[in-house]
C-alpha cells in the first residue's frame, strides 16, 4: 500500500486515499470531469500502484488515453462452482507441485478474499407442483456431484481466504448483492471502494450498487487470487441517461429488455456503462440490479449506477449494519462517488433512453436482445414468423436438405 495522499476519513477512525488531490496534482480541475469508473480506478492506483508508474497510469485515466496497460487490484474474487472449482483444483495442484519441490504447500493461499457459492449444479428434476421438489432435487444434486462437493468443502478447511457457501443457499450474484458486498471496504484501517472479479459473465449484477464487478475467465481469476494485478487498458466509458418515468404496471423486466435491444444496436461492446439521470434516480428499490444484471447481454463489460439515496435505502433494507451504511454514505460524499458530485462528469458518448416509452415486453426467440412487445403477440407476423406452422417448417427443412 502507498503512503502519499493517505488522509483521515472524518468520523470513522479510518483513513482513505485522496484521489482528487492526486489527480488535480497532474491536471487541475480534472477530477470533477471524471466519470464514476475513472474515479474508482484512479483510487486503487493511488492506493496500490507502484509509485514509479503511478503518474503515467493516472494520466491514462485523466487524459482518456488507451495506449498503456495499468494494474487493477480487485478487492474480492467471487466464483461459482464451475469455474471457481477449476481454479481451486489448480491451486490444490500447485500445492502438490510446491511440496514436490521442497516448498511448504500450506503457504500457497489466495491472497485476495475469495468467495465460492455453489449454485450451478442443481437440475430441476422435480417441478414446482411436487411438494417435495426442493428436497428431492437437492438429493439428486448431492448424489451427482459428490466428488465435486467433497473437494469444495475441503478447500474451505485447507485454504486461507476462501469462504464457501454450499449448495442450496442461493445464487452467487444475488447473495453478493444482498450480503457480501460492503460497497465500501474497510481493511487495515483504510476505506476504499469494493471491487471484484467474478468467474461468471453476470457478475456486473452488483454494479447496481456502484461496485465495479467484472466477469473474467478462470485463469484471470486465479491470477487475481494469487495477488498479481489484473492488467487493464482504460475502457470506453459511456453515459446512459435514463429519462422519464415508467408507466403503471411496468416491471423491471419490461424495462431491461428494451434497454438491451437499444444498447445492442448502439454497439457498446466491452464498454463500461454508467446509468444516470432522473430516470435512474427514480428507479425503485431493487429494480437497478435487474438492469445491471443484463450487462453481458448489452455486450458491455460493466453497467454501473452511482451511489445515492436509493443505494443507502437498499443497504438498510438488506440489513447491513448502521455503521457500514454510514461509512458508505460518508465515503461516497467525501470522495465524489455520490450521485450529486457526478453532475459534471464528462463522457465521450452519451446515450439517452426514455423509460416512459416502455411497454410490457418479452424477449425472444433465440436472443435476449430480440424484444417482443406482448401487444404484438396477436399479430399475424408473430404467428407466422416466430411460430411457423408445422407444414411450413417441414418445407423449410426440405429446403435445407436440398
Amino acid at each position: 500500500m502507498n503512503t502519499n495522499y493517505r488522509k483521515s476519513l472524518k468520523g470513522t477512525g479510518l483513513d482513505y486515499f485522496d484521489t482528487r488531490e492526486a489527480v488535480e496534482a497532474i491536471q487541475p480541475g480534472a477530477y470533477d470531469k471524471l466519470p464514476y469508473t475513472s474515479r474508482v480506478l484512479a483510487e486503487q492506483l493511488v492506493r496500490r500502484c507502484d509509485p514509479a508508474v503511478l503518474e503515467d497510469s493516472l494520466k491514462q485515466i485523466i487524459e482518456r488515453k488507451q495506449d498503456l496497460d495499468f494494474p487493477w487490484y480487485p478487492a474480492r474474487v467471487v466464483c461459482h462452482d464451475i469455474l471457481g472449482q477449476t481454479a481451486l483444483v489448480d491451486l490444490a495442484g500447485l500445492r502438490d507441485a510446491i511440496a514436490d519441490q521442497g516448498g511448504d504447500p500450506a503457504k500457497v493461499n489466495p491472497v485476495v478474499p475469495t468467495q465460492l457459492i455453489v449454485d450451478h449444479s442443481l437440475a430441476v428434476e422435480h417441478a414446482g407442483f411436487d411438494p417435495e421438489a426442493f428436497e428431492k432435487n437437492r438429493t439428486i444434486e448431492d448424489r451427482r456431484n459428490e466428488d465435486r462437493f467433497h473437494f469444495i468443502e475441503w478447500t474451505k478447511t485447507a485454504f486461507e481466504n476462501v469462504d464457501v457457501i454450499p449448495a442450496g443457499n442461493g445464487i452467487m450474484h444475488q447473495i453478493n448483492l444482498e450480503k457480501m458486498s460492503p460497497v465500501i471496504q474497510a481493511r487495515d484501517g483504510v476505506a476504499f471502494p469494493d471491487t471484484c472479479v467474478g468467474t461468471d459473465s453476470h457478475t456486473p449484477h452488483i454494479d447496481s450498487l456502484g461496485v465495479i464487478a467484472i466477469g473474467v475467465g478462470g485463469l484471470e481469476a486465479e491470477t487475481v487470487m494469487l495477488g498479481r494485478p489484473s492488467m487493464m487498458r482504460l475502457p470506453d466509458i459511456i453515459g446512459v441517461k435514463l429519462r422519464g418515468k415508467r408507466q403503471p404496471g411496468i416491471t423491471a423486466t419490461d424495462i431491461v429488455l428494451p434497454i438491451t435491444e437499444f444498447l445492442r444496436k448502439e454497439r457498446v461492446v466491452s464498454s463500461y456503462l454508467e446509468f444516470f439521470g432522473e430516470g435512474a434516480a427514480n428507479l425503485t428499490l431493487g429494480d437497478r440490479p435487474t438492469i445491471s444484471n443484463m450487462t453481458p447481454e448489452f455486450g458491455a463489460s460493466a453497467g454501473l449506477f452511482y451511489i445515492d439515496e436509493q443505494t443507502i435505502d437498499y443497504l438498510k433494507l438488506t440489513g447491513r449494519d448502521a455503521e457500514q451504511v454510514a461509512l458508505v454514505e460518508n465515503y461516497a460524499k467525501t470522495t465524489g462517488l455520490w450521485a450529486d458530485s457526478l453532475t459534471n462528469a464528462e463522457y465521450e458518448r452519451i446515450l439517452e433512453f426514455d423509460l416512459s416509452t416502455v411497454c410490457r415486453n418479452m424477449a425472444g426467440p433465440s436472443n435476449p436482445h430480440r424484444r417482443l412487445p406482448t401487444a404484438d403477440c396477436r399479430l399475424p407476423t408473430w404467428l407466422s414468423v416466430v411460430l411457423p406452422a408445422r407444414g411450413k417448417r417441414r418445407k423449410v427443412k426440405c429446403l435445407m436438405v436440398l
Partner: protein
Amino acid sequence: MPDGAVIIAAITSCTNTSTPRNVVAAGLIARKANELGLSRKPWVKTSFAPGSKVARLYMQEAGLLPELEKLGFGIVAYACTTCNGMSGALDPKIQQEIIDRDLYATAVLSGNRNFDGRIHPYAKQAFLASPPLVVAYAIAGTLRFDIEKDALGTDKEGSPITLKEIWPSDEEIDAIVAEYVKPEQFNQIYNPMFDLGVVEEAESPLYDWRPQSTYIRRPPYWEGALAGERALKGMRPLAVLGDNITTDHLSPSNAIMLDSAAGAYLHKMGLPEEDFNSYATHRGDHLTAQRATFANPKLLNEMCRDENGEVIQGSLARIEPDGQQTRMREAIESYMARKQPLCIVAGADYGQGSSRDWAAKGVRLAGVEAIVAEGFDRIHRTNLVGMGVLPLEFKAGETRETYSIDGTEIFDVVGERTPRAELTVIMHRNNGERVEIPVTCRLDTAEEVSVYEAGGVLQRFAQDFLANTV
C-alpha cells in the same frame, strides 16, 4: 398439447428474483388467478427458484407463497436452475408426444439468456419474461396466444378472464413490498450462513485425490508435455481454421453424449449414462475435460476435405505426415504419443465467446505451443498466455490463404519474445520450400512475457514462490 406449447415456465434467475417487486407481482397474479379458478395447463413444467432464501420469508409472510404453490410454482431450489440450462428431465409422456407429433414446444423464463437449445433440448425456443408474465403463460399453456387479449379462462359466470384482470397494480405491489420485505429477514438468512466461525483446519494442506473421480483430478501442469521445454520448433498444425472460432468450438460446455470422446471415457470409468452430466461440471478432471478439446461437431478444420475439396464439418483432424483423417481426439492422442509439438493456424477473432479457460488449457494439454491467427479475442488471448501458449498475429492483409497453408507444413518460431515484438515464423513446405512469415508477438506486456516464459500463471507463481521461500 397444442403446437407452440409452453413446456417450461420458470420463475428463476438473479436477474429477476433479486427484485422484490417482481417476485411479489408473481405472487399477486397467482392469488388473483386462484381466486378466479384459473390453473396451470398440465403439460407446463412450472418452477420457482429464487436466488435467495429471503424471498421465501417475505412471500410466506405476505401469504403469497401458498398462492404460487397452488399454481404449481412451489420452490424447487435456490440456485441458477433453468437460467443455466439445468431444467431437468421432462415428463416422459410429454417428451414422447413432442417427438411423435413434431410439436413446436417452447419455454418461458424470467432469466437472462434464451439461445436456442440452451434451456432444454426439446424447448426449441425460449422467451424471457417478467415473473408475473411467466405465471400468465403457465395458465395460457401456449405461445400461440394473444396474451393481452385472449381469455386465460372463464369465471363462474362464464365471462372471459384476460391478463389485465389479474395483473396487479403498482399500488398493490408496493404495499406488499413495504409491509413484508424487512431487514430482519435478510439477517435471519444471512447471519447464520456467513457465521463461518472457526473452520476446522484440514488435516493436510494437500488434497487426497480420488483416483476414480471423473470430476476432480490433480492437474498435470508439472508433468509430461507441460513440464517439457516449449522449443517452438518443428510444430505441425493440429488444425487450420477460419474466422470466428469460438470457445464453444474449442471446448464445449453442454451435455456429454455417449458417442463422444469424453462419453467413451466416462463409460470406461463406469459412470452410468444418465449421470454423465455436462462438460462444464467435469472441468476439474483434465482427463475428461481435455477430451472436449475441439469436440464441437460444428468444427470446420480446413485440413479435412472431401473428394471435391469441400471442408468436412465435424470434430476432425488429419494426422501428418501420414495424411490420415481421423476424429480430433484420436489425432491428439497420436500426436501426444509421438511428443509432436503442435500449432494452430486460424483466421480473425480467434477465441471469442464465453471466457472459458479450458479453451486454452485444452489445446495446451494437446501439445499446442503457438497459435498464429489474424486476431485474438481479448480474454482468450490472456488465457492463452496464462497457459503458456504463444499467440502470434499475422501482419495486416496476410492470412493462412495468402500463404496457401494446407496443414502439411512444419513451423518454427524465431526471434526474441518481448512485448509486441516482430517475430518470424519459418514455414517448411513438403517440397522443401522455406517461407518466412513476419508476425507480431501478442505477449502485450512485460508481465505477460514473464508469465509466458515460466510456462503459465501457475508455473510463474510456483517459481516465484520457491525462489522466495526455499
